[in-house]
Symmetry: D2
């Protein structure tokens, strides 16, 4: 089959699957803790796949904007590791999965007291945000925005309405942050770490942009469109290992079992995932790809219902598990 025939076939398949899995969304519902998330259309489902050539395959509402939410945890972790080195960061946050909900405090108390289990749960991510270089939230965010810009070639935009809502309602995250301050794991003031964390969560993207992040992870930090290694390979591999073991909240184990790709989800319904190059000889993506998904109706763990369902089918039909 020629490349273009392949493409046509895959796009047709994707369109059918998106139409089918969109129906699954009714088993979830949009996050409701702030108005902006509550207003999302629960029937939306979109996907964008980008290959190293820059070639894109899209289906459904792939270009509807949404906020990064927890997907930002991957980028801020990479950013902190780039600046401080891996071992500095891992002295402050562990890399062990946990069966708990993303916002649980229990484990903070039981573990080496206060050290967050991993950078993909809120406690770990807030710790990581506090580690970003800079003396003020603005400096820390500027560092992070510069990294986003390197990836997407445009300055990230914070959805101010979302940020303000998050800021007002973030009692659980404040509880976690004060706990971390008490145990000495926070590198700046509570309100500063929270501002950085909640602003990075409020960056507005669409599936193409997170697919691009995924693609660079697939290529171990190499940006194929810029032709430049933008992150150290070791940092990216570590991030992918964390995505696989902890990226889908307390359904990470199930996602690894049924899909088998490193992924990170957010409560806004986004999922960023990727296929490494030449996993198996017959892969439809021999050079790897990045995948961005948006489906705002989420399940009780916080993952897009239709998005996970669609990814199970993709992994099965196209045989792209890393296992």
């Amino acid at each position: 089959m020629t490349k273009s025939k392949w493409d046509r076939k895959r796009m047709d398949e994707l369109e059918q699957w998106v139409a089918y899995h969109r129906l699954q969304a009714s088993e979830g519902k949009c996050a409701s803790y702030i108005p902006a998330l509550r207003r999302a259309d629960p029937t939306h489902l979109g996907i964008c796949i980008i290959e190293p050539s820059g070639h894109k395959i899209t289906a459904g509402e792939w270009d509807v904007p949404f906020t990064l939410q927890s997907i930002s945890k991957v980028v801020s972790f990479i950013a902190a590791c780039c600046h401080h080195g891996i071992s500095y960061v891992l002295d402050r946050v562990d890399v062990e999965p946990t069966g708990d909900a993303f916002n649980s405090i229990i484990r903070l108390e039981m573990h080496k007291p206060g050290k967050p289990f991993n950078p993909m749960i809120n406690a770990g991510a807030i710790t990581v945000s506090s580690l970003l270089p800079g003396d003020t939230p603005k400096q820390k965010l500027d560092y992070l925005y510069a990294i986003f810009q390197k990836i997407t070639s445009s300055a990230p935009v914070v959805n101010e309405e979302v940020f303000v809502s998050e800021w007002m309602t973030s009692h659980r995250n404040r509880a976690l942050s004060h706990y971390l301050k008490d145990t000495g794991y926070l590198d700046c003031e509570v309100e500063e770490a929270l501002e950085v964390y909640l602003k990075q969560c409020s960056i507005e993207v669409n599936t193409e942009q997170i697919a691009l992040i995924g693609l660079i992870l697939a290529l171990d930090g190499y940006h194929p469109l810029r032709g430049e290694q933008i992150f150290p390979k070791q940092v990216v591999r570590l991030a992918k290992a964390l995505m696989l073991t902890c990226g889908m909240y307390d359904a990470s184990g199930k996602f690894a079992a049924y899909v088998g790709l490193p992924a990170k989800s957010g409560v806004s319904g986004g999922i960023m995932t990727l296929v490494p190059p030449i996993l198996k000889r017959e892969s439809p993506f021999p050079d790897g790809c990045g995948i961005g998904i948006f489906g705002p109706a989420i399940d009780s763990c916080g993952n897009s219902v239709a998005g996970v369902s669609l990814l199970k089918q993709i992994a099965h039909e196209w045989d792209v598990s890393i296992f």
Copy 2:
């Protein structure tokens, strides 16, 4: 470089690394709860790598016999899934990693009460042993032994001294088993499930045999020496996902981060791991391989100190992470 030159180079490297990492063993110590484990030589370190061609690379004390212990959990999980189908098994045991120690009861109480988190912790493995087909421990074990024989072409031998010692001292496992019986997750009597579980743990192997199991997992269930698909691909992929997220006790996250290969360890000091075919173009094992390691001095999590240390070097130098 010709194939044989490659081989020579790799064997030389392996010999040097084994000599070096053997020194790490002094940071751990042999499991001491039963005499047979206590008697092991903590300075031992051996490795065997098998490629699909049957070609073997070995170094150190690769042929010293040891008992499978928790490595058997992978085989019994595959066996139960082969017989009952994946969904039957996953109704009785979950697939989520947990940050707890392998023998923790806490999570059994907090989780959907009593359902084990995953088949790689003791509670889950005992549940899986109870699911093996057969009305008696003997029948269940015969089913399991037949699977071992299919892999290694010889009947497995149970180390009776180890089994009897385990049987006498296994209070924690009895506690877990009675708890599982109480919550309804055990498919047979407590003493029957324990007999099966402790006998499968007491099967004697050397690194070549576990490397062979690893190789078959690397090839998604295909036995290259028999030329036969002996396990369904989906079952093997699920087993590998579980190994990656939960296979190294509560250091699974760190192992995924620093080594990045599906692996399962046992308290006797064994580690079974594998490299899938053609992960990256420049892999020294383009067709995949199975790896067996033995180093009886273990750390506080229960993993071979020298073995993990050696695998970090292999993963780094030969660049074989799945991420």
Copy 3:
């Protein structure tokens, strides 16, 4: 008012209250884990109050037999302390209340590992049973039976049907026992400790007999009918403190707040409690009394619904709280 007029008034009140609180029983249900408990009549409610003179006030089904269940924990704790001294026993079981259910394992793992929180939860009570003097279950039980006989002047009778049922279904208690064996807190074999514990739970009594135990506790170990100090005062005071802080399962705090008397309940619906002498000048029991209650419909914590409800009224109307 003359003594006999007082008595008449109190008996009339008691009869009315029993009739009223009997109706509360419909909010609970009989324990159902074994047939003998399941068969109890949930509408039953009986009470017996004994004063130091031997004078008895009774109402309702006060003479229906039931098994001691957890009420036995108080007697075995006193027995173990009489034999070994308080400090020996408290080295093996703590005296802290816990907000957990009586059969929880969680706390065993989190606490100084394995040391039971207190002798009123199952883990602590099984530990205490293992401490009774004697090399066999029979010897340990004989020691305990002798103490019962000293109190009630007749040999205790074990309900064999209940014992056998408990023995067959006691998976949770076996789990606790094996855990305790593993952590070294059990002074004999698991099956021996369980036999002692489950037989003491299966002793058949009626409300008069437990009221008599309560009376002796009220008098700090003095048996008024025998005219003899049968337990050391310090041991009895300790037992009463434990009853107050831990005696009503995880509703102990509420019972202390709303009733304010040392008490111990059992899942068969029994409650043993007591009023110390001259708590307040105007007490209807200036010399103290023991109170036995039976009401087999229990709540989710394991306490007799009608019994607790009746005791709240008694405490309120007769003003007998120790606070």
Copy 4:
């Protein structure tokens, strides 16, 4: 013996005991999280006993000022119950003891989510402070100060240095408060509840003043010097039950077992306790008394080492347990 001879004898005994138990203080150390507590003299030990007649017995450094800290929890609980009624308050905070440390978050997550276990742990006390009547921290505090003034006949003074230090370092309490806000148990803003709570903790007293509070509790809310019932009897009894089951942090069970009196301690080294009237015929305090103790060297649970030690001797020698 005449009354005055009795008094002399008791004062002599007290002086000897204080001299003896002062030596125990070296096993503890002063709270060190803020300068004002760190500066306390760890060898200090003082006691004041007040009888309903107003007669005082004192020994040691009974008049050294210290801050109320957690002892204030009893007064604010009584205040909230006086204003709202018991059931309103107990809808927002439970009355169950817990084996956890006073500042633990774990139980908040495991329990009916977020409802504090009892008003004697920080989470419960902060909730209670938020319930005090008034729309501002000042109004809430004025309500509480008025109650103090009714007891001690002088306006309470807040140690501003202590309050400011607490306010700056109170990360753990802020974590608890934000958690409570998230779960809906806080009746005002986080910063408001904290201001009230930390100011009540910073009220300066000496042992005489807390002995006076204890005396009023001993008399079920009756103020003998004013000749007035200042709190409802039911509220005071409930407060005493809570002090007995939860008043000495996670050593409450041990204190009930070895001392047997309702008591509340604070990290500044204060203990407020009491003897109810005519507990036993031969009591040295037939009309009851209040007891205030100050000994700033505390143990790992947060209780005055010398204070607890002294109270064990008093309870033993004077036979004043409520059991």
